[in-house]
């Protein structure tokens, strides 16, 4: 079984997680830029973070046989802090990098005017750089926030097949399916979605345009939730081809629209390749 986790914050995870993910079948991840628990207060803080997503993190992932790409953006929550607004001016040079396969996460947190300005500006940047978009939907007032996000995306004129609307649930999946965007689901131990509810939605909506992720970060979350969904799918009567479609081919098709997804070079060596382990110099 091969798994592509299309949304995971590996910066917040340990090297042991990479080992366990590889053992579970994870061979590729996309790490979208987001907040870190502690709010950032300046642009430089973002730049070091972006550099890590382009440098250290893919290097670390490759040591464990996992391809690492990223999505970059000024996230919705920190878009509200004027001290961080300068990130938008830095993004164009970052969006040229080889391993950037989308703009994200963008969207709403508290649905403020500042968030909306950053959302719209970054939809334009995505179009200028021919990149797909990963849209975060808010945890508070989710249905209203998702509906408004779909309006902003539509008004920007970006084709729906280049947009992934994430953190969906039973309340919000229908409107995204109707809009023609890709549908992302985050599987969490307590909140968001769980594997059984996910499989119920797959039965109802089919496997087309659906992506499943762990969204694992610094909170209570689990990088192996993608594998758990695969196992529950099989137990529920889905075939191996269905699992491969949801957990591999769909993310490859979505992020492949960037023209920059490289799943060939770099990470074949696996965890135990000679001299290919994390060493402290």
């Amino acid at each position: 079984m091969r798994i592509f986790d299309p949304h995971i914050h590996m910066t917040s995870r340990t090297t042991d997680d990479y080992q366990r993910m590889h053992a579970a079948g994870v061979r590729a991840v996309v790490e979208p830029a987001f907040w870190l628990g502690q709010p950032r207060t300046n642009v430089g803080s973002f730049l070091d973070y972006f550099d890590a997503l382009l440098g250290w993190e893919p290097y670390r992932a490759a040591q464990y046989g996992i391809h690492h790409h990223c999505a970059l953006a000024l996230n919705p929550k920190e878009a509200n802090d004027q001290r961080c607004a300068g990130v938008l001016a830095e993004l164009p040079r970052y969006l040229l990098k080889d391993s950037v396969v989308a703009v994200g996460e963008i969207g709403y947190d508290s649905m403020t005017a500042e968030e909306e300005r950053a959302f719209e500006a970054q939809l334009a940047l995505a179009q200028e750089n021919d990149l797909p978009v990963l849209v975060h939907t808010p945890h508070r007032d989710k249905a209203a926030g998702t509906r408004r996000s779909l309006h902003v995306v539509r008004d920007a004129g970006i084709p729906p097949e280049r947009v992934l609307i994430d953190h969906l649930n039973e309340m919000t999946v229908g409107m995204v399916a109707d809009a023609g965007c890709w549908m992302g689901f985050s599987i969490y131990p307590d909140t968001k979605m769980d594997p059984d509810r996910m499989v119920a939605l797959l039965k109802e909506y089919g496997t087309d345009r659906i992506l499943v992720n762990s969204a694992a970060d610094w909170g209570r979350s689990d990088p192996l939730k993608t594998r758990e969904v695969a196992d529950v799918m099989l137990a529920a009567g889905f075939g191996e081809d269905d699992v491969d479609r949801v957990l591999w081919r769909n993310p490859v098709a979505f992020y492949g629209q960037s023209g920059r997804l490289d799943l060939e070079t770099g990470s074949e060596a696996g965890p135990d390749h000679a001299g290919n382990t994390i060493k402290r110099g």
Partner: protein, 168 residues
């Protein structure tokens, strides 16, 4: 991945010849648009402009930094880029550390930094064959450092790598 275009590198080189700062936009996408070797061709078009090369390195991802480090000795920079090599030696990325000890680093690093770099290679399991001109730069102090490291490994019951054994 999209296929690289044949004409892309030549066009990009002409743009950099006309305006060195154009490289900031072209260099990140050079390998995927222009294929292998496109970054090296663009660096050559800078004619040793060390300020632009430094800016490019500092804004670069790992692939861009690697392309710069491995080309430094061909770029007519004298010793002006030794700071980039020192920066690479501070990373935890074996590709960058090995490239830092290529022909340019070996030519321009001071004795202390060079010895620390060689020892760092040993710690990161980078074969010492990756170090350019190691024989020319090898000295008694580096031999002592490697010998002490071998003793530390033996005390811990760990194997001593053969290229350390040969030089300690």
């Amino acid at each position: 991945m999209n296929e690289p275009a044949q004409e892309w590198p030549a066009q990009a080189v002409r743009q950099v010849e006309a305006d060195p700062y154009a490289i900031h936009r072209l260099f990140p996408q050079a390998e995927r648009r222009g294929g292998p070797g496109a970054r090296r061709a663009l660096l050559g078009a800078l004619h040793g402009d060390h300020a632009v090369i430094r800016g490019l390195y500092e804004a670069g991802d790992s692939g861009e930094r690697l392309a710069i480090l491995t080309a430094l000795h061909e770029l007519d920079l004298g010793g002006t880029a030794v700071g980039l090599v020192e920066d690479a030696l501070r990373t935890n990325d074996a590709r960058l550390v090995a490239a830092a000890l290529g022909p340019y680093g070996s030519a321009w690093l001071d004795d202390h930094s060079f010895r620390q770099g060689v020892l760092k290679c040993v710690f990161m399991s980078i074969p010492l064959a990756a170090v350019a001109e190691l024989d020319r730069r090898f000295d008694a102090e580096l031999a002592r450092m490697l010998s002490d490291y071998a003793a530390e490994l033996r005390a811990a019951g760990r194997p001593v790598p053969s290229d350390v054994l040969d030089r300690s």
